[in-house]
Amino acid sequence: MSVPVMTVPGEPPAPWATAAVRAAGLRKTYGSGETAVHALAGVDVAFAGGEFTAIMGPSGSGKSTLMHCLAGLDTATEGQVWLGGTELTRLRDDDLTRLRRQRIGFVFQSFNLLPVLDARENIELPMQLAGLRPDRAWLDAVIARLGLRERLGHRPHELSGGQQQRVAIARALLPRPDVVFADEPTGNLDSCSGAEVLGLLRSSVKETGQTVVMVTHDPTAAAYADRVVLLADGRLAGELIAPTAESVLDALRDLGA
């Protein structure tokens, strides 16, 4: 029942200065006045480089909104987000877009590959949008690690869900982004493929020092992370270091989920 480590919300957590991504006073409000909904009600959070962090919380806790704001996909109503030394909340749309394609990788729940492109083209897409040539050795390494060599010429609809998600991970890793955001990456997968995908994310952190931030509601998935950040009602509700499925489940139960 006991939560190993808990920090007090509002205090800079983790090594603030070396954080790959951090947010301060982040608020996101939909609507206004009486009917206003506070998806994020003032969040301060930091994610250390080379760490695998899971963001967890009950439905409606604001975990997806938090990730969207951290990744520059959505604009916050108030507060700041930094990616390394860059303040995302100050960037214009074009600069933000360029930053996304060079410094941020995404893995989505529903894979989100482009149906008109084959696996290789999907993997190379963000680099090509940026007008960059992928580093061949790195490309080969990523493809080998994800076991996609045989599948490069296939269109997404010719791939299984697990394979599609592996293509998505390869796409996210290829530009060597500062951080990879994964939004429920196992949500549409069977448990076996899900475990495989999580293992791949885990190993990319361990072997290449990739920073990964993952939103999930699955305690088993969260157990792959180095740290779990808990969210409830748009506020930080604590964190777990070196989580296990059981400790995550307990922490969630305490939040009333």
């Binding site: 959505d74 989505f108 482009l114 008109v116 083209e121 897409l125 949008l129 997404p156 609809h157």
Partner: protein, 822 residues
């Protein structure tokens, strides 16, 4: 369901703008055409039938016998107020200040005011002998005194004078320009040689309807070989002869209207597909809560019905407005088809409403059927991500080929046999085949063009290429709509260019000189050449000498001597005109046997002791031709028999003025000389083709505009369907600009491919059409106006690009979050 239908219409009215626009334009076109036709008819009726329209009854002698004796008998009828015999004659009249006499057709001014139909531009109508009213063509002013020469059947000339009292406005009468008209009182007409009348115009006594008068007159003239018609009937009969051409024009216009309607149909079908795709979830939800497939279909068709009716109504109004605008525009100009005001026949309104509504309903059928196939579950799950693979129907392929192959064969046969009656059905058949096969043919071409574009356009172009072929059926429908418009436009452009160059080349060859001044008795006065050179509009002249020369048979023969260098500079084409070389004589075919020479034979020409040995070249008709130097070595005193003139390439009006000036100069110098030439004919052909091309291109342009609305629609649909995908691209780093570029590339691919294919097809059709029409007339000069053809491709493609602007703006607003939110 009805409440749902109306709620849909209220909420989504804006979505229907595209299909409404397509229907409005197409219906407006149809109605405008019909209204213009009716307006032309009634205008012509007013102009041509002017002397009958307000006449109660017209009696015409069927066998040409005199009706003079019947005038009194008819005038005594109670229902008849007045009778005016129509007297006609013709005279030569000279107007002060103009050289030479002109031919005037003389008509009568009725004594009874009711039967006076002439509209005056200025002055008054004559009311006694010695006075005359003339038409504008006569170019005389009020107060001028005309010298009138009347030659009777025995050749005796009598000369009298008549003072012009007024100028009559013949308004839209198409025959007004041919000859001048003069109107005089009946006594004057008789003294100018008018024969007994064969036509009587009758005014009714107040209160008697025309039909009653007609019956009375017919009863009185029973047994006589006459035709008795009401004025309205007579006017119609006369107008029919004139509007025959205008009716052909209407038929042509209606063909284009049909094209516009077809293209609009394709666009409407696409629009409804867009609307329904946007609403897939909504429709599925309806099915979830218990709506049957039939109810869904009825709701969709109901929407189509309302859209069709409303937009057809707007279209009818637009069409009438269009006709009014055209009519107002044309009224001020010198149009071959007269228009004044507008008349709107009921059938045009009804036809417009019916066509618009039916086309909308028909076009909505397929999307409506697709809508009923929406599974209730679609409301609950995200849209399928796999690319749509539609199978092009085998039936369509078979029917397409069955139409295309015989059509092409017919066209080939038509060209070989030089028969447009064979080639035309072939063209229609094959084009229908092409339209059906486009479904299969267009997507691969778009894909190929896409691969090409991908090389240069980077990622957005490559993605666009993939997107453009994802729904082959829709891409094909969009491209086909544009293809039809572009094909027909370029067929017209290429066809008319070929017609023009063939006709001009034919004329140039046949009549190489613009103007020939020729004397019929003796040589032209020396110095005339210099005078003519000074006439404004004349570029240069060449003299052709003429003298009598004795041939081998000893007979004197009028022979021409041409200065080859000077003549060459004047002639427009030397294709058909053979000029002699020094030491050569051109011997006409008819003369060769008499002179006993064959082509290439030697012969000797003599004249007054001089001899000239020449080689014969047997060619053509006319008289023998030598070079000017050879002729003068034989006859040193040879005079000028002809002057060839070349005019500057001015507009037709200016050239007519030039011809008038030349005629005046020649008439003064040598009254017996004639001025002939085809310069005006050439201009007329040019002018007719220009007008035709302008009108037709304008009309087809409408089809292209409608098709471009379709391109915009298809892209709008893409944007809706790929919201998530576009969001993903934005998330992965596609800038807004690149996303707009993506849509622009898609538009350019579809529109560009349609434009290029359309131009190729249209060019072929244009050449085939022109070849089958013109080859009986002589050599064909195929001409492709590359500039215009290129312009068509560029315009269609750029317009497609413009059509992508709105959907692209909408796509660019897609938040990257949309990718995740689904």
């Amino acid at each position: 369901m009805r409440s749902v239908l109306f709620a849909q219409l209220r909420t989504h009215a804006a979505r229907l703008i595209a299909s409404t626009l397509a229907v409005v334009i197409a219906v407006g076109f149809v109605v405008g055409t019909l209204v213009l036709n009716e307006t032309t008819r009634s205008t012509v009726l007013d102009a041509v039938g002017a002397q009958y329209v307000r006449t109660a009854v017209v009696v015409t002698s069927a066998d040409g016998s005199s009706l003079t004796d019947d005038v009194d008998a008819i005038a005594r009828l109670g229902s008849v107020d007045a009778v005016a015999p129509s007297l006609e004659t013709s005279v030569q009249a000279s107007v002060p200040g103009r050289t030479g006499a002109q031919f005037l057709l003389v008509g009568t001014v009725a004594d009874a005011p009711d039967l006076r139909w002439q509209q005056l531009a200025t002055g008054r109508l004559p009311d006694r002998p010695g006075e005359v009213a003339v038409s504008e063509r006569a170019r005389a002013a009020v107060g001028d005194v005309l010298t009138v020469t009347r030659t009777d059947t025995d050749g005796n000339e009598t000369t009298s004078e008549a003072r012009v009292t007024g100028v009559v406005d013949l308004r839209g009468d198409p025959s007004a320009g041919l000859y001048g008209r003069a109107y005089v009182v009946p006594d004057q007409a008789r003294s100018w040689g008018a024969l007994d009348p064969t036509e009587l115009r009758i005014a009714a006594t107040a209160g008697f309807p025309a039909d009653q008068v007609r019956a009375d007159v017919a009863t009185r003239l029973r047994g006589r070989d006459v035709e008795v018609l009401t004025g309205a009937q007579q006017a119609e009969q006369k107008a029919a002869g004139v509007t025959g051409d205008a009716t052909t024009l209407t038929a042509v216009l209606l063909v284009f209207a049909t094209v516009a309607v077809l293209v609009a149909g394709l666009v409407i079908a696409n629009t409804f597909a867009v609307l329904l795709a946007q609403r897939t979830r909504e429709l599925a939800l309806l099915r979830c809560v218990g709506a049957t497939a039939r109810q869904v279909r009825r709701s969709v068709l109901g929407e189509a019905l309302v859209t069709g009716l409303v937009s057809s109504a707007i279209g009818v109004a637009a069409g009438i407005g269009l006709a009014a605008a055209v009519s107002a525009l044309v009224e001020g100009t010198d149009s071959p088809i007269p228009l004044a005001g507008i008349s709107v026949p009921l059938y045009a309104v009804l036809a417009g409403l019916a066509v618009g509504t039916l086309v909308t309903l028909l076009a909505a059928l397929a999307p409506a059927r697709a809508a009923t196939r929406v599974a209730p579950l679609a409301a609950l799950r995200p849209v399928d991500q796999a690319p749509l693979r539609s199978r092009a129907g085998v039936l369509r392929l078979v029917v397409g080929l069955v139409l295309l192959l015989p059509g092409v064969a017919l066209m080939a046969f038509g060209v070989l046999r030089a028969s447009v009656m064979i080639a035309l059905p072939g063209g229609v058949l094959s084009f229908l085949g092409v339209v059906l096969l486009a479904q299969r043919g267009v997507p691969p071409v778009v894909a190929a063009a896409g691969r090409l574009a991908g090389r240069f356009g980077g990622v957005p172009a490559r993605l666009a290429a993939g997107n453009a072929t994802r729904n082959p059926r829709r891409t094909a429908a969009t491209a086909t709509a544009l293809l039809i418009g572009v094909t027909l436009t370029s067929a017209m452009v290429v066809g008319s260019a070929t017609t023009r160059s063939t006709a001009t080349a034919g004329l140039d060859a046949q009549y190489p000189t613009d103007i020939v001044v020729e004397s019929f008795d003796g040589p032209l006065p020396t110095g005339l050449s210099a005078l003519l050179d000074r006439v404004d509009g004349v570029v240069r002249s060449a003299a052709v000498f003429t003298a009598d020369v004795s041939g081998p048979d000893g007979e004197a023969m009028r022979t021409q001597g041409v200065d080859v260098a000077a003549a060459g500079a004047v002639m427009r084409s030397a294709d058909k005109m053979v000029l002699p070389e020094p030491g050569q004589v051109l011997v006409p075919k008819w003369l060769a046997p008499a002179w006993g020479v064959t082509d290439g034979g030697r012969l000797t020409l003599t004249q007054e002791g001089r001899r000239l040995d020449v080689t014969a070249r047997v060619v053509g008709e006319g008289s023998p031709v030598l070079t000017a130097a050879d002729l003068r070595s034989l006859v040193p005193g040879a005079g000028v028999g002809q002057l060839w003139l070349r005019l500057s390439d001015a507009d037709p009006d200016a050239q007519v003025d030039t011809v008038d000036r030349i005629t005046d100069v020649v008439a003064e110098a040598d009254p017996m000389a004639g001025v002939t030439g085809v310069v005006t004919m050439r201009d007329q052909i040019d002018q007719v083709l220009d007008i035709l091309l302008l009108v037709v291109t304008g009309l087809l342009g409408i089809a292209v505009v409608i098709a471009l609305i379709g391109v915009g629609n298809t892209l709008a649909l893409s944007v809706v369907e790929r919201r998530q995908e576009n969001g993903l691209l934005r998330a992965l780093g596609l800038t807004r600009r690149q996303l707009r570029g993506l849509l622009a590339w898609e538009a350019v691919l579809v529109a560009g491919v349609a434009a290029v294919l359309g131009v190729l097809l249209g060019g072929a059709y244009g050449l085939i059409g022109a070849a089958s029409v013109l080859s009986p007339l002589g050599d064909i000069h195929l001409a492709v106006p590359w500039l215009q053809v290129g312009a068509i491709v560029v315009i269609a493609t750029v317009a497609g690009l413009l059509a992508s602007v709105l959907p692209a703006r909408r796509a660019a607003r897609t938040a990257p979050v949309a990718a995740i939110a689904g």
